[in-house]
Symmetry: C2
Subunit: 682 residues, 2 copies
Amino acid sequence: MLNASIGAPALCVVAGLAALLFAMVLTKRVTSVAPGDEKMVEIMDSIHEGAMAFLGRQYKTLLIFIAALAIVIVGAGMLTGGTAEGLNPLTAVPFLVGACCSILAGNIGMRIATKANARTANAASQSGLNKALSVAFSGGAVMGMSVVGLGLVGLGVIVMIFPGQADIVNGFGLGASSVALFGRVGGGIYTKAADVGADLVGKVEAGIPEDDPRNPAVIADNVGDNVGDVAGMGSDLFESYVGSVIAAIALGASMAIGANGEGVMVPMLLAAWGIAASIIGTFFVRTGEGKNPQKALDAGTYVATVLSIIGTFAICKFVLPESFSDGVNTYTNMGVFIASVAGLIAGTLIGKITEYYTSTEYKPVKDIAASCETGTATNIISGIATGMISTGLPIVVISIGIFAAYYFAGLYGIAIAAVGMLSTTGIVVAVDAYGPISDNAGGIAEMAGLDHSVREITDNLDAVGNTTAAIGKGFAIGSAALTALALFSAYTQAAGVASIDIMNPMVVIGLFLGGMLPFLFSAMTMQAVGRSASHMITEVRRQFREIPGLMEGKAKPDYARCVDISTTAALREMVAPAVMAVVAPLFVGLVLGAEALGGLLAGSLVTGFLLAVMMSNAGGAWDNAKKYIENGHHGGKGSDAHAAAVNGDTVGDPFKDTSGPSINVLIKLMTIIALVFVPLFL
Amino acid sequence: MLNASIGAPALCVVAGLAALLFAMVLTKRVTSVAPGDEKMVEIMDSIHEGAMAFLGRQYKTLLIFIAALAIVIVGAGMLTGGTAEGLNPLTAVPFLVGACCSILAGNIGMRIATKANARTANAASQSGLNKALSVAFSGGAVMGMSVVGLGLVGLGVIVMIFPGQADIVNGFGLGASSVALFGRVGGGIYTKAADVGADLVGKVEAGIPEDDPRNPAVIADNVGDNVGDVAGMGSDLFESYVGSVIAAIALGASMAIGANGEGVMVPMLLAAWGIAASIIGTFFVRTGEGKNPQKALDAGTYVATVLSIIGTFAICKFVLPESFSDGVNTYTNMGVFIASVAGLIAGTLIGKITEYYTSTEYKPVKDIAASCETGTATNIISGIATGMISTGLPIVVISIGIFAAYYFAGLYGIAIAAVGMLSTTGIVVAVDAYGPISDNAGGIAEMAGLDHSVREITDNLDAVGNTTAAIGKGFAIGSAALTALALFSAYTQAAGVASIDIMNPMVVIGLFLGGMLPFLFSAMTMQAVGRSASHMITEVRRQFREIPGLMEGKAKPDYARCVDISTTAALREMVAPAVMAVVAPLFVGLVLGAEALGGLLAGSLVTGFLLAVMMSNAGGAWDNAKKYIENGHHGGKGSDAHAAAVNGDTVGDPFKDTSGPSINVLIKLMTIIALVFVPLFL
């Protein structure tokens, strides 16, 4: 029987297991392909080991963090516990389960992604474009299916263990958030420290090409692609995915929608159906020789989206009561459907807008490239201005989405919009994780000295990967904002405050402090990249100087040492921003109270969203302006304009790959901390 | 007899007239000094004429803007009028008076500032440091006294004409805001278009030094210093000054503090006494040969501050009732005193924090200079990160200030804190306007070929001017934020909404849209500078090419043409951002309602304050990092580090002198528009 405490979560578990089963099938599909010659295998193994080494070291730090937070939960629970309003110490259980699920998803995804790279290159060499696309996409889809599979299995089990106890279930989201913090911040610092180190010494000082095996940091750089765009992105969307469902469950429960908990069931059913839609979508990702692989990836996403909409309609129509009330207004089941579709459309539009501002096809990037003709300064100003302007449309889109969701289904509608936007997370992550695999495949083809025609195929795949990465970033930001807003709504319901009134100066203080945090957080992560990169630069220079025969290709560099430096630096540098993200909401909640904390969350949501969009888009636009010039415009490679473009790209690196994406996690983490610890603030 | 409708405003008029009388004395003091030889007079006249030409052209555009807005006020008043809740068409009267007062203050200030420059240089040459300081400071003090004098005369007269009609008096603030919009945005674009044009072609391409008379844009550049830092800064602080008093009057009236309108009287009395304190303070600005002029300026400010505090204590103690209530809490007269002092201290602290982040004396600028060693990209990242981090302390300071003011005196306290912060506006503007006069004096000394020892004195004065400019910028931002918050409080009272609740998604949409506007506005003004500068560059290149004998110093460049280009470009480019600033709040208020508009104002206040601080401080820090390197660090002038620093400085120019300061006006203008037009949104 379909109900909120057994039936619906059981369906989640079943759908999740199906996703995991499909991930196993995909894994087989990837590993059954030969990884190529000895040299390719050697490089692949280096990347794989480097990635696993990073994860292993990260787990140790994570363990301390998770343990500390679990102790805080249990301790706070014992202090306030016993009463119905207290924090339940059992919240630590879903917290730990959520963290473990996210860690496991990341581990599986990374494990396969770092085995798919050489196989993609080899498939390109042996069988051509379609097979290479299939391997790369299958590798990425393992990550996608692990994220949604483990997300729903874990969440479903937790809901069954704690039926009707939304306050405890929230712990699952906090666990996911904690892992995402490490994935995004630590991963973001890692990837850019390695990238900048490899580029600055290798390309600029030593004058050797990208992905040259003589460069000591080349493996760290390739590891970094996976650490950032597979594990980091995956943990971020894992968090949004489960966070949106949790928020909808919490609101469905507190608003008592439906006589039998239908409001609680619906988000779970939507998520479960979304997995089916995503799996079916993957079968449409296929291309032919000489065709644009972008179309194949788009086809998969569109199929999943349309299927998701159809299923959503059915679920809303047949599960929800025809009308329900939040005490003030009355809404219909079709209103909920509209809210969900509003979220899906908003997510798609934000992705498209991101593409407009960051693709070489459109005016903004062309204008930035043109501004390089008058030097670096004009390029920087032009990029920052473009990043700022690019906040306009996403804000309008998300505002319309919020308006539609709220108008047709109240606060519950906002959470459902987030669930709708994230229902196709499985295939979105798959398309996203495909990017670094293709990128790595190109690197391996270069390092292993494969035929030029192979490199052409991998370059083709990689170029598409840059576009999907940009769209994925937009989607990640949009979904983070909507999830944070849904969690914020759940927080306000849980806090039971009459209002969070901007006319109350305590709320204004919260707004000011919250608005400032993303600025501080961005600055901290940016400076962390700078410091980490300088360690890397020193080490790469040392190896070039001290290892005899390295430049002549007679000796091998010490790749592992560079991997180690990135790892150590990333984990050390993320401590300060991570602590700030956890302590700030607790401090404000405890000292200034639940209303000021509400202001803080709203403030950080607004400026966080704006800064994340601005930084990601400015960074993406600079990157592609450089590529545009390299393609022969404004004097091409080696021109003064190109030198200016390289500077812009370097500034944009921490913008788009560290600080911008880290903000996604910041705004969600602070909100879920507020939601979990709300009993302490009342 | 001291009362709210005659006595107190009459005192304002008297104090204002005293300030204007003192401005006349100062004018005499300046004009009685000989302006030097024929060449110096010629240059001075060119700058003077250029500045007056800009103002003249600006007035024509302003006239259209003001007339249009007046028609809107009268039209909206006729449509909604008649009822007590409607917009009173008479609001157009104070609107026009406010605009005229601000225009007049700017005109007087500019007129004298552009006559004090050559006289400062000549005084340095004839009598040494102390006399030069006295002339430059007196020139700046004319602007300071005009701002507070005309501000209080105008406001006092309006209050006497419309006693007890706070809604009509608000129009005065809107007039001031409209002029500030032109002063800051137009002035900001003008000054940087001229500066970038003069530097890029003159210094970089033609290889001639700064302030070389052969550079066709040199006069425009010197005019720009006055347009930006005298007229622009003056109109900005004029707006804050009258805005804070208006907000306090409105809140004092709506909260009915004191049986005889004592709550309305106090802000007027504080402002009136602040003029006396400022005048007395100016007498302490004197230095000796070989001493640091900074100390002299500080002494004047500190004396004015201490006097202001003493007077505030007396006014609160003897005018206000011992205790009063806002209906919920009871406050004391000493609470109001504390609120006022909290504002004064917050303003001083924000200035000091700005100095810390932008002065060559401290770590942030030194770190940025060090980052230039690894190139432009690291310099840019370092500067942006510093700008972002520098938002932290000002936010904390202003939050504590808001907390203290609210805790001790409620919403009224917040408005009084703004009045307190701005009570010493007279001397603050004087110190600020002293900067461009000294800067111009140095330019004239260079162009007229005065002795090296003269240039040393003017360089000394100019270096101090850079510090005071940075502090002044911090003060302007802080006071803009506090004034906007006070006006926002007045708006919420006037709107009579029960709450502006962030739990209401319409308010969240307002927050998102409002938060986005400063980003869009900054991008627009930044791009405007880029376009205007490129016109200037084209013209300067043309003159170098087409005027025979120019480089050899045998022919004179066409200065007027460059002045004209800056003027035309600035006035054309400011249309779009200006329209957006006016239309956005009207649109949201009319379409989404008074609560969403409240969200919009709060959102723009928060991100506007953060962006303004970030951009001003990043720009100031880059500027001084360049100076630090030019003083011989990291390889000095001509090194690679210096080239990187020049790029950072160029990026920082529109940050600190156009976009950052323009945001001050944006947040105040949108709030006062909401306040004036609130009857339309209900």
